[in-house]
């Protein structure tokens, strides 16, 4: 963190898609998106589904290019696949033919880390998330929560300064979610990368973030930003008892509800009260 450049910077980013190969009309997914994520900052993106949150992460990962505007990582324009960030996708995307440890070592292997060090680092993080004893299980032999842990650890094990996470706890049951949120907070505090975290769970966003960015309906624009000034480390299990939580939650929910309501407006152009 020696430089003063933001870890990630969006500057007037637009993104248009053509939904199908022969569709005549492009659709606008992102409109004039500008924000930064500072080094070591945990930033959540929330907003109605289809508003372009995943697209933002794909832009930082260089898997897709902006139609207009600039996406920067550590002060450099992202062009082409960005191997300097970690990307934890919505699906766990584990290789089904590799054991847990084989999957966790994958990134280190691609990055040319020698085998003994690979083993050591993978094992250390597997231990942190309590998966020792399952190293040689294949993904289909693991529970949803275990696979999620594996996919998180697989990305954190090679220590990037920016980590992208796309609704990582979406399909999990309520108890597993909270446990994994607490584990994620611990893991994050070990090396303190910047995190861009997409979620639809407002409690989760408050519990984990330094800042929350609320998106509008498609085309996604930034509706508001919230600073989360709750002290760290946070007690994830009792976050809703923390002073200040309720006010923040209510404000966020009011914003989101307005967007969900707007999506169901019966007539195009009609004003929403």
């Amino acid at each position: 963190m020696s430089t003063s450049a933001p870890a990630v910077r969006f500057q007037s980013v637009y993104k248009a898609f053509i939904a199908r190969e022969r569709a005549a009309q492009p659709i606008l997914a992102l409109e004039d998106i500008s924000f930064v994520a500072n080094p070591g900052e945990f930033v959540s993106l929330v907003g109605p589904s289809g508003c372009g949150k995943s697209t933002c992460l794909n832009l930082v990962a260089g898997l897709t290019a902006p139609s207009a505007g600039l996406v920067e990582h550590q002060g450099a324009r992202v062009s082409g696949v960005n191997t300097k960030v970690g990307y934890i996708t919505q699906d766990d995307n584990l290789l089904p033919w590799r054991s847990l440890v084989g999957n966790v070592e994958l990134g280190l292997e691609f990055r040319g880390v020698p085998a003994p060090e690979r083993r050591r680092r993978a094992r250390e993080l597997i231990d942190v998330v309590g998966l020792i004893g399952f190293e040689h299980h294949y993904p289909h032999e693991l529970s949803g929560g275990m696979r999620k842990r594996a996919s998180i650890v697989r990305t954190l094990v090679y220590d990037t300064d920016v980590v992208l996470m796309d609704e990582p706890f979406g399909p999990l049951d309520a108890q597993t979610r909270v446990i994994l949120q607490a584990e994620l907070q611990n893991l994050w505090q070990r090396s303190r990368p910047s995190v861009l975290f997409v979620t639809h769970d407002l409690v989760e966003a408050i519990a984990l973030s330094d800042r929350i960015i609320v998106f509008t309906n498609r085309p996604g624009t930034i509706k508001r930003e919230y600073r989360v000034d709750l002290p760290r480390p946070r007690d994830i299990f009792h976050i809703h008892e923390t002073p200040g939580f309720s006010d923040l939650y209510d404000a966020l929910w009011a914003d989101i509800r307005a967007e969900i309501g707007a999506a169901h407006a019966p007539v195009a152009g009609e004003r929403i009260a």
Binding site: A61, G62, L63, V81, N82, T83, V85, G86, Y87, T89, D91, N93, L95, P96, W97, R98, L106, G107, E109, F110, R111, Y138, P139, H140, T155, Y158
Partner: protein, 299 residues
Amino acid sequence: MGLGNGARVTAVGERIALPRPPADAAVRVLEDTLTRRQATLRARRRTVWLARLGILVGVIVAWELSSGTLVRTFFVSRPEAVAARLVEWTLNGDLFWHGQFTLTATFIGYMVGALAAILLAWPLGLMPRAYRVAEPYILLAYSIPAVALGPVFILWFGLELLPKIILAAYFVFFVVFINTVAGFRQVPRGLIDVSLVMGASRAALFRTVILPSAVPYVLAALRATLPAAMIGAVVGEFIASNRGLGYLASAAASEYETDGVIAAAFVMAVIVLALTVLLRPLGRVTRWQRGVDVSEGSL
């Protein structure tokens, strides 16, 4: 509120101590479940084999009863005549002498066809645009009935082993080719993207993601096409040959010896069955996945 007076409702947060279940009860339940499951599986296996045997006996009995009564023996022969023919061929060595040619053509044709299919599918599966260019021609070639090509192959490649090998290879080629291409093309986009962001080079991506993902498709096709290879070899022998199991069958047919035709067909069926069982372990190479269905096209 206490637990006295048989009260079942407790204050919030109060702990109710329940007696522990007897220690060995759970173990017994687990053991019983296992024993019962094993018994069920054994019974099911026995039923399947009995049913199979029943069908075989039924067919032979029906055949025996109808031959000479419902249908003229000339058309369907009789079980004992076919059995006699099999014994005769075994004792005079015809079975092994002819069998070796068919098996040789089957094996070489299978290898050649499968190898050619994989080597061609490899680049085409990885290059979607090249595949789109080639696709109509491949489908065109696939839609030519191989039997119609037989005489042409004989013309080009002579009367010996070569045209049989090529016919066998032809029967194998397309199924392996189509499935290998499908294997390369079905790799989930997410796996590729995630690997690229993790820093995979092109070579590493191919080795660690694309190839393993395609392997089950290739193996399923290899397993499914072995019988096809033998059909190809036999078709070649039918068209022009003086040896091989196909020749045995066609020679018997030209003499109107139905028992010989049935006996030869029976031998081929048994060989295909044995080869299929032999190849079964191929499927177990990939124990991380739960089976891929091979698409066999029009074969």
